[in-house]
């Protein structure tokens, strides 16, 4: 059935990074992803702290590394333009909370998978974005292809998308949310409430 795309879980992603064991010249964008995932592994996933503390640490890492306003704008599409400032903020908060919890819940499935970097490729037309290509070596089955879309910002980079086995995370959210918004008259606040309901199902 669904087999070929054990895609989703960005969570699953976060479980999957490890420093490559050999020294290799990485581009600045690759370095950004590598440092981020290394940090995620050592300071969050493998850290000997409570789940609560892990969630907190991951939240801080996530907020720093991910360009949430860009993602919010993209996943809401045309509904973003019509939404009020407070609805936009509310959506970003709900989206962030749910994503952080989902990923955090997957950390104990991490079992030392390695992340290999396979080069970069320009993304979009503006020349400010890059795809960082990588693959996660699994203990069984074919490696999982993970492509990080990063954007140059200030002095560094921010993540704006993760593409797992061809499925873009933001595109998937965009379609999912558009379907809900089409049926509720474009009510972004109601969509945020739905996300909050999902968030509430996670154990505190």
């Amino acid at each position: 059935m669904l087999l070929r795309y054990r895609i989703v879980l960005f969570a699953f992603m976060m479980l999957a990074f490890m420093p490559t064991s050999y020294a290799m010249a990485l581009s600045p964008a690759e370095n950004f992803v590598k440092e981020l995932t290394d940090k995620g592994i050592t300071e969050v996933v493998e850290a000997d702290v409570s789940l609560e503390e892990k969630r907190k640490r991951f939240h801080d890492l996530f907020v720093k590394a991910v360009d949430l306003p860009s993602i919010g704008r993209f996943v809401l599409g045309r509904y973003w333009r019509k939404a009020s400032e407070s609805d936009r903020d509310g959506f970003i908060r709900s989206f962030k909370d749910l994503t952080v919890l989902t990923w955090s819940d997957r950390f104990d499935e991490y079992s030392g998978q390695r992340l290999d970097f396979l080069g970069t490729q320009p993304a979009g037309k503006k020349g400010t974005q890059v795809f960082v290509k990588s693959r996660v070596l699994q203990s069984e089955g074919e490696p999982v292809e993970v492509i990080w879309r990063v954007k140059k910002k200030d002095n560094g980079f921010k993540i704006i998308d993760i593409v797992i086995e061809g499925a873009s995370m933001t595109m998937t959210y965009r379609n999912e949310y558009a379907s809900v918004l089409q049926n509720n008259g474009g009510n972004v606040a109601a969509l945020s409430d739905l996300l909050d309901e999902k968030t509430a199902t996670f154990t505190p």
Binding site: M1, L2, L3, R4, Y5, R6, I7, V8, L9, A11, F12, S70, R73, F74, G77, R78, W80, R81, L98, T99, T102, D105, R106, E109, A123, G124, K125, K126, Q129, F131, S139, E140, G141, E142, E145, I147, R149, K151, I160, D161, V163, E165, G166, A167, S168, T170, M171, T172, R174, N175, E176, Y177, A178, S179, V180, L194, L195, K198, T201, F202
Partner: protein, 265 residues
């Protein structure tokens, strides 16, 4: 017994769907990326949604618990050996599709893998070939049709089989008859062989389902419209599988849509 399946209405259904809808796949929408990034044709959405609910209930009460139990009861090494055997058994089909897509070197890799893993790897239990540099890959007839230029047609949620489209549904049927074991089972009077083929089908299903658990768990927990999530993921994942080894340097992958289009400069 398996021959019954092939002559069954199921096949007729696939063929009918193909004839009705597959050849008439709509041209790519010309709306701007900004407004309609990744549009997926789904004219049958109300019916598809109904079938999705049915599949999901069936999954929730039968397949998912079985897959979870399978993962709990069997150690990873055993599941890995089972998965390797199943992949090995499927490699003749991959080989045929490689040839039909004129991927000669890939076909050679698969042939080498099959010979080595069937013998040295003990009926495919151990992927010895991979350690020798012969990496596994997957091809199916749905992908072959795509490479031949056949469009996918409208999204279809098939009862029991899950997300698909006319092209991939036809592909599934063709893959079945491309499988030499299908013909072996068809022409045998041996009960053991027949039973083995049922076991294979069943275990294959459980293996696939168990490997999807992380994905489906997250969809269940976080998606506010699982139907659309599954559809979008299936569509993108198939695009990726089809373009594997095909994408030219200048070609833009499906996930390279314009990101900053709304109000940012």
């Amino acid at each position: 017994m398996n021959s019954v399946l092939f002559k069954s209405p199921l096949v007729a259904l696939f063929m009918a769907l193909f004839l009705v809808t597959g050849c008439a796949s709509a041209p790519a929408p010309t709306t701007s990326m900004n407004d309609a990034a990744l549009q997926i044709s789904d004219p049958l959405e109300p019916v598809n949604r109904g079938i999705y609910v049915f599949n999901d209930a069936l999954d929730l009460f039968f397949l998912e618990p079985i897959a979870r139990g399978y993962k709990t009861v069997l150690p990873e090494q055993v599941r890995k050996a089972i998965h390797n055997m199943l992949s090995n058994l499927n490699e003749p089909v991959v080989f045929a599709n490689d040839l039909m897509q004129w991927k000669i070197s890939d076909a050679g890799t698969i042939l080498g893998r099959f010979v080595i893993n069937t013998t040295v790897g003990i009926v495919g239990m151990f992927d010895v070939a991979e350690k020798m540099g012969l990496e596994p890959h997957d091809e199916d007839f749905g992908q072959t049709l795509a490479v031949w230029g056949v469009g996918d047609g409208p999204y279809l949620m098939l009862p029991l089989f899950g997300p698909s489209n006319p092209r991939d549904a036809v592909g599934k049927v063709v893959d079945m008859v491309l499988d030499p074991f299908y013909w072996i089972v068809r022409d045998t009077d041996e009960d053991t062989i027949e039973r083995a083929s049922y076991v294979r089908t069943g275990v294959r299903l459980i293996d696939k389902r168990s490997r999807l658990l992380p994905v489906t768990d997250d969809i269940r927990r976080t998606s506010v419209d699982p139907y659309t999530t599954v559809k979008t993921m299936y569509h993108q994942n198939r695009l990726k599988e089809i373009s594997d080894g095909e994408t030219e340097e200048h070609e833009v992958p499906a996930y390279d849509f314009e990101f900053d289009f709304e109000d940012e400069e």
